[in-house]
Symmetry: D2
Subunit: 346 residues, 4 copies
């Protein structure tokens, strides 16, 4: 950490800062410059609260050198984390896992039809929401607990693993009973009560990046999960808020290599929410795999024109087969492969 002083800071103000740094248990290293003095804080373990220093007389700015997260960082654990799932699946290794399915569970028929369609095309995890966070209180909010029961049925019928969202601490227990992966949605990335609960769950967590979260904020949210003891965390890029209405979100593909540089955790990509437009899902799925994504999360609906939510960004089964075909070739081009389904997993 570097404390930057005003250009007209007095000797006494500099000494005041040095004293507080030392009170906090660190060493202070003043560096007089031509225009101003800066003071290095040596021995910082990443937990110094800059607030106290920032409020001192003569201080202009605090610059952080050490990252504020710890357990999620690659410096803490150099080898990449591989999250193990039932049936031998793994996220974060050489194989790329494709998770696909409709936005919401709607009916038994719909979810089973969807599950079989995506499995037959090559997906290994079924995604679908029982609890749906929606901007409007009047929009379809999901089937809730009965949706979870239908997901259980779909798991039995298709042999696919299940990833589905929990929206509050109570939901974590309900979802953990049925799902193989607990999803935390973008709107809840900084819902700390929810993160703490999921950090104590016995299932892996898929943590989606918030709509305007920096990578550092995403990693700090993941740090909440690891700090509670859950090491099985999969990050997910799903588009950030941009200024251009030509796509629903700005799909930040570069988040994939940035996360791989800073953290040992795997990161997958959701080109459906990331773009919000059906015709862009295929090229952006290819881009994400080419950039090194450890998996894909794709919205597929057996009949998008009848979907109760997000029909505009859902692929139909034929389009999804094309996506699987193309991304298999891209994966091979970079020396990886797509995990293939192998029957019922338990």
């Amino acid at each position: 950490m570097l404390v930057v002083m005003r250009h007209d800071a007095t000797e006494q103000e500099v000494r005041g800062v040095v004293q507080v740094i030392e009170e906090l248990g660190y060493q202070a290293r003043p560096m007089p410059g031509r225009q101003r003095t800066s003071i290095g804080v040596v021995g910082n373990d990443g937990r110094v609260d800059a607030s106290r220093l920032a409020a001192l007389a003569g201080v202009v700015e605090i610059i952080h050198v050490t990252k504020p997260y710890k357990q999620v960082s690659r410096e803490w654990r150099p080898e990449s984390t591989v999250v193990r799932l039932p049936g031998g699946l793994a996220v974060g290794g050489d194989e790329i896992v494709v998770m696909a399915g409709p936005c919401s569970v709607e009916t038994e028929r719909q979810i089973i039809e969807a599950a079989i369609a995506v499995r037959d095309a090559g997906a290994t995890v079924l995604r679908a929401g029982a609890f749906k966070p929606r901007s409007s209180p009047y929009a379809f909010q999901g089937l809730g607990v009965s949706g979870l029961a239908l997901l259980k049925r779909a798991r039995e019928e298709s042999g696919l693993l299940i990833v589905t969202e929990a929206m509050d601490p109570e939901g974590v227990d309900l979802v953990a009973e049925v799902a193989d992966i607990i999803q935390i949605g973008a709107r809840n990335m900084q819902n700390y009560s929810l993160l703490k609960k999921a950090g104590r769950a016995a299932k892996p967590v898929l943590l989606k990046r918030g709509l305007s979260a920096t990578i550092q904020e995403l990693l700090l949210a993941a740090e909440y999960l690891l700090a509670e003891g859950n090491q099985n965390v999969i990050l997910c890029e799903r588009g950030v808020r941009g200024f251009d209405p030509s796509t629903r979100n700005l799909f930040d593909v570069s988040a994939v290599p940035v996360v791989h540089t800073l953290s040992h955790l795997p990161i997958i990509a959701d080109p459906s929410h990331g773009t919000g437009r059906r015709q862009m899902v295929l090229p952006m799925a290819r881009a994400a795999v080419a950039a090194g994504a450890d998996g894909l999360l794709v919205e597929v609906h057996p009949h998008p024109e009848h979907a109760l939510s997000d029909g505009a960004q859902s692929l139909d089964p034929v389009e999804f087969r094309q996506l699987m075909h193309d991304t298999r070739l891209i994966a091979e081009a970079i020396g990886r492969s797509i995990t293939e389904p192998t029957g019922v997993r338990t």
Copy 2:
């Protein structure tokens, strides 16, 4: 709602869209243009889910004319809502309410000292967090339930009303026992489980705008509260995510007149979080009042250099007196006034 067709959409595709619109119970009004056909949806009450239409063959885009919110809109209720508080205070009328205090409750001495300082300078509501959402799991997270007890003490000592944050559904009950206003923080603006719970509470709610929430999303979040029956909602602008590191957030003063145009709900402004820099709080507080804000939320700490959180943006009592002085003059210039403290309120 307007459904825009591709320029090469067929007659049959246009008929397909018309048919679905009619199935949904609305009238379709096709408008052939030189380059493309658009189809107006007549009779839309703001609840049509565009998803199904967006997924139809030949459709390029759905354009919304009717706003998706309802009870919060000024069209629904033309007169401005005035939220009544104990002791005769009101937010949303001619008077401007100033809420001030430290970021966090730290000790009994600190909170009482702060309460008396801000009251003596002219604040009528004490703000301070017992539960603190923090980006890092290692940062000070607030005193929790014992912080609420200290707030109760401060209320008794100072006669100020209390606004403090609830972070999860359980927290709503705890906070509602002590506070006069339940705050929902920016990170939780789309935490729907929390919103639904607060919408059933018997206390007014202060809803802060999310870090990258559009005004429409803010109003939709407020709609959740009204839809559950709580009409006493105060909105709060507190800065959005910008691209310029010269301020911590981009304080969107224009949110004030935009909200006043679209909604009957009062909106206050938080120049402390809005800018993140102590020396900018005063000019931006003046700007917010000049723009028509119905109140201010200001961080004041008796000793900012010892604050456990957000010291860099906290005013000391002397600076806060200056802020009160300046904003009183601005309020008068636009024909309003600052609510003055009148002793213990109950």
Copy 3:
């Protein structure tokens, strides 16, 4: 400047960086930390090109402490610059200058009518474009040279000073013959050929902030003008690109106090482009003055419903009188005043 090394950087890599810093003529001050070593660069006068250091082995990041601009900074010149204009007008002192007029010069009758209307309401400078940068090549691009002649006529008729835009180096000469202030538009803030030419002109320059320019970039663009010898520079906040379609731009009122902190140059505000909506111009003009703006730039058209450009954000003369009335009161509340017209200026 601080050079941050990778956590696993070798001794040799650290020595390599130290050596290059010394080759560049500065002192290196290594600071070993628990997690990584950082190296302070002492004696930096703000002109070190970080590129060479950033490319060295083992370097993770370069952190700038010294600002890259110089002559525009308040550290270089502590007293605020006052830009003197003909007729005794001054921008940057206690008085606030209001510049108003239509988006474009359209006809002799229109511009003279507009000039007299804004003068009678209290404006002292007439704004109107002869050369108009437009996103579409098919939109009205201004009258060009004949528009300048009409501005000259309007100046004679009304006694107002003139501010109008130059779009390219040749335009600077043409505009400088007629105008009292040469405007450089937001789209051209980083058009360096234009800046250099305007920096050699004998007239003051009004430099508008680019649509996504940071304050530092705005100050660096101004530095181009000062570096060429033109000290009479007025900055202008006119809204930045945001994510919320509820306003055309995000009017960053906080730019006013930020600029006042970092630079000695005056800054005015343009609430018309800043918001893009007529009904928001009045409250945001009040907010800008309350925040400390040294002037206002306001679009006023005698008949907005017939304007060839930007009618949606133009005030009519009645609305503009209201704006003048309100901002006079705000100015007084903060101890300033609005410059009043005093007849023909020459």
Copy 4:
């Protein structure tokens, strides 16, 4: 175009809008809704200036259905444009063109060494700046005209084509004499004097997307070039302004498929500026090709640690060979190929 009326607009106000629409030569089609009336404008050819309508009494909003650009749109010309270059090169067909080289021309030795290195690795066009737009007036601004002479030498020595930037109208003539492609930089995307001049040049133009330009604005800027008669336009995504400091820009890979949907013009990608970090250039180059980019623009310096500008994002020749290897495999995976050098081109 759709004119949305206020919910309380009077019959007379609706008639007023209808009348103006008809005066402008279009048909008006009013659509009364439950909450408000909207009025469709039929026969709009994309050139209606909305300003006049937006200023009418009772109007709340203007919604555009027809795109404001024309000649660049795929609806105007359904087949993709292929820009032909000397030596049989083509941008926009099945082959992907790689343009590589240093940020700036520095010395004869440097530019020839760079040219041969990138040619030997497989590039077919040499990129390097003689005129450099720099944020700071004190940064290295390029060698200017003598840099152009060195580029001519490098062309002769290496057989590579040349792309280099023109910063102002005069520069267009100078650059056009030497270069095979005239580059217009991101900061100048809306420098209309420059665009008009380049639109009359006899050489193809590479138009980089502005730092916060929407795709629509990029296409409108290209429309300026086509409107002046230059059909040989190559667009370039190079990163937009984002909120996350973990990359220098936010590389918007999705711009590639969006442009391909809306326009017939080819689009290439610049992962060097797009990310600003050397270690991210390779994965993001792969991603851009996978998304369908028609070419790459890559910064390569023979000795990045000695570069006068942008060393931090320049690859060295070894890294660039790896990039060529990887992107060849990605190109093949999607049925395309990288254009291979074939000796001196004239």
